[in-house]
Amino acid sequence: MTEKTTQNLDEVTIRFAGDSGDGMQLTGTQFTNTTAILGNDLSTLPDYPAEIRAPQGTLFGVSGFQIHFGSTEIHTPGDQCDVLVAMNAAALKVNVQSLILGGSIIVNTDGFNDKNLKLAGYPENPLKNGSLGKYKLYEVDISKLTALALQDLNISSKFVDRSKNFFALGMMYWMYNRPMDTTVDWLKEKFGNKPDIMEANLRVLKAGWNFAETTEIFNVRYDVAPAKLPPGKYRNITGNQAVAWGFMAAAKKANLDLFLGSYPITPASDILHELSMYKNFGVKTFQAEDEIAGITSAIGASFGGALGITTTSGPGVALKTEAIGLAVMVELPLVICNVQRGGPSTGLPTKTEQADLLQALYGRNGEAPVPIVAAATPADCFDAAFEASRIALKYMIPVFCMTDGYLGNGSEPWLIPDFDSLPDISTKFRIEAEGFFPYLRDETTLARPWAIPGTPGLEHRIGGLEKQNITGNVNYEPLNHELMVKLRIEKLERIANDIPLATVEGKPEGDLLVVGWGGTYGAIKSAVLREQQKGKSVSQLHLRHLNPFPKNLGEILYKFKTILVPELNMGQLIKVLRSKYLVPAVGLNKVQGLPFKSIEIETKIDEILKGKK
């Protein structure tokens, strides 16, 4: 055996890449869970094609999973990776440019036969022609070694091919000094009733580990110490799971049944999957015949006294538009969760974007104000869903909860909240018949009473036609309509009294304020931190509430010489900020279906600061 040395790293980014049938998402998730339990801070970026099983070996069939972890605070999945695990030639071709100079490539040599090379568009084998000289190249015939590990078991070659990802996982566990227990336990649970499959996968995993330990190819392994996170109990969580749990927590706190009406759509379907597991919490999930039935069934459930929610992505919101207007008019609580993806139309179903903000703000007929809450990180999706539900219930109004594909599928460690200390969002139904009018509003919130069917003496009719103030009877009078439009707007504006003031991360005034919303938080944070370390006068402000804005937003904006608004769209928040606060903000826009790299934001900041007189 060769002498093996161990080095310490503060942080590292690994990218697993292979065919969409190679199980790279599973490999990445397993590595992530193990890493989370070891106490590293982390952030992940799954990046997979829209096709379920794209033709093998092709460039567009490449599926990737990037994890950035460390002993320091981690805000992004990493701009570039330090290590690339490439299961075939196409995976190398697609991902090699995201590898840092001098980074490591671990390839499955079996994935570089003539056919693979041709499909990947390599005129000659890059492993042989020295073109990868800038990197550390580790060549392993993963397919063959996997087959060897399984040779005495009676197992099909198809299965052998499918389990080779566990070999790669085993090697990476050895290299980054991670225990295999979490994955072993997972395999035991997952394949408990298929002992031969479990046994085979376990063997391959361990074979990968043993290979890395014995072979002379690898002579360095790395330690990444636990991060110094705030004390408490942690778990790893994806954005979609966090949204689901946020809604469940809100319903429980409000003592209401949760009703989800939804139609499957990438990347939001996992919320439907997650919630449909919790029947024992009384959660009712309804896979409707379409997006419209998804939201309208939720409105019906809210009318009956449930917390109605609908989950979707942009194209689904387009279909729900008319019903959102109905919910504005009938003033019932409702949350619409939009896990945004690349658009327009079907667009980029599996890629991320934030181009639905204006749709959420303005995408309805008539004056139809809807509050908007946005999540900043995967774990923050829990708080965003909870907050959206709170506003919906308190103000009797439909609320948008905005996340995106990157947040929904990405994950990070989450300091598990104490359920008892979550805010009290209890609500009540109107019961007294005396003095009841369907549209007689609460003086503070302007919410109308929630009077649900089944209550004697409160029989009343609601609907999408304009209401007479107070009585709620159908009314077409000019002045009444104007009054009602204004009341609905004022109700929304009063929410500003009930949300936290915006806070600046960094100095409260200076040369540059970077204003963001949604899933760009981590990338902006990393860029701003580096600027601050360079001594630059740069601060960050990230918006949770986009409608209404926090009351102090204008005040803060005016304290900075320049405002930079990075967005994964062609400039949507910036339009609203400019028109509302008349600030000469500068945009940084990217629409590639991918999150920002923090370096892109840092470069833009440097550019702005340089150009400053």
């Binding site: 959660v283 359920f419 003496g457």
Partner: protein, 350 residues
Amino acid sequence: MSTLVEEMLKQTPPPSGVKPSAKDFQSDQDVRWCPGCGDYSILAQTQRIMPDLGVPKHQTVFVSGIGCSSRFPYYMNTYGFHSIHGRATAIASGLKMARPDLSVWIVTGDGDGLSIGGNHMIHLLRRNLDVNVLLFNNQIYGLTKGQYSPTSEAGKVTKSSPYGSLDYPFNPAALALGSSATFVARTLDRDPKHMQATIKRAAEHKGTSFVEIYQNCNVFNDGAFFQFTEKDTKDDSVVFIEHGKPLVFGKEKDKGIRLNGFSPEVVSLKDGKYSINDLLVHNEKDTTLSFILADMTYKSHLPRPVGIFLAIDRPVYESEMTRQIAFAREKRGEGDMKKLLNSGDTWAVQ
């Protein structure tokens, strides 16, 4: 812990045991249909039978879409929801799932329920939630002032079809049967007794009841059904189908329907060739027969079938949902949010 809804239901015992009257189901709103509109009769019959159903008005909800017909909930002194075009079925589905304790009614039109809302309608029917659908079929778009609808006859001349409509019409009863409905009926605005009896049966049915009501729009499609409703013609043009009874019709009750293979044909009971024993006997539990009867609808050589085509039992959607929840609670225990948050792989940071 009981939910807020359960607490509300406990705190509010139903009002005194005095049986309500039809008047109790009338709201204080002025009814605004055109004078002479068939909708008036449907409203009156519905209000008349409501007290007999034994469901108090505060536990009754009428949900509608958009159209003349969909104004209906405003005139009922129950809970009501006049929603958006075509979606009443979906709203009612969510309401019924959330609140199986309520008696939920859907009022819709031929445009609302079969055109813009056709998708929700077929899915409601196959799911079989325990709700009642009253589809006011006037074979026209009334509210938008007279365009052809999905039940208008081919060739119909309207404002939007000056050269005649090219669409072949839906047969609502057949559509409902094809969607695996468990209760399918047809009745007439001008036959109050039949309508009352039909709606009552619909209310009693466990599962989705689909009732197509021929309704005269005297402004934009006057007389569309007069052949089936007016004295001179109705007896020879309509066959009332009743469970267990042979299909006899005609002013003199001198005609009947007999099956020739799978095809219904009209036979005379007068010429001595056929007797009542040769006639088709209706069985509302027979799904195959229901298709044969519904298919008579647009055949000019056959009388129009009116009555209950099918009434069968199938598990009710919201009951199954309740059962799954109970099963999950029994198997996994009542959900505990604290436990869930702390479940799975967790670790502590000191």
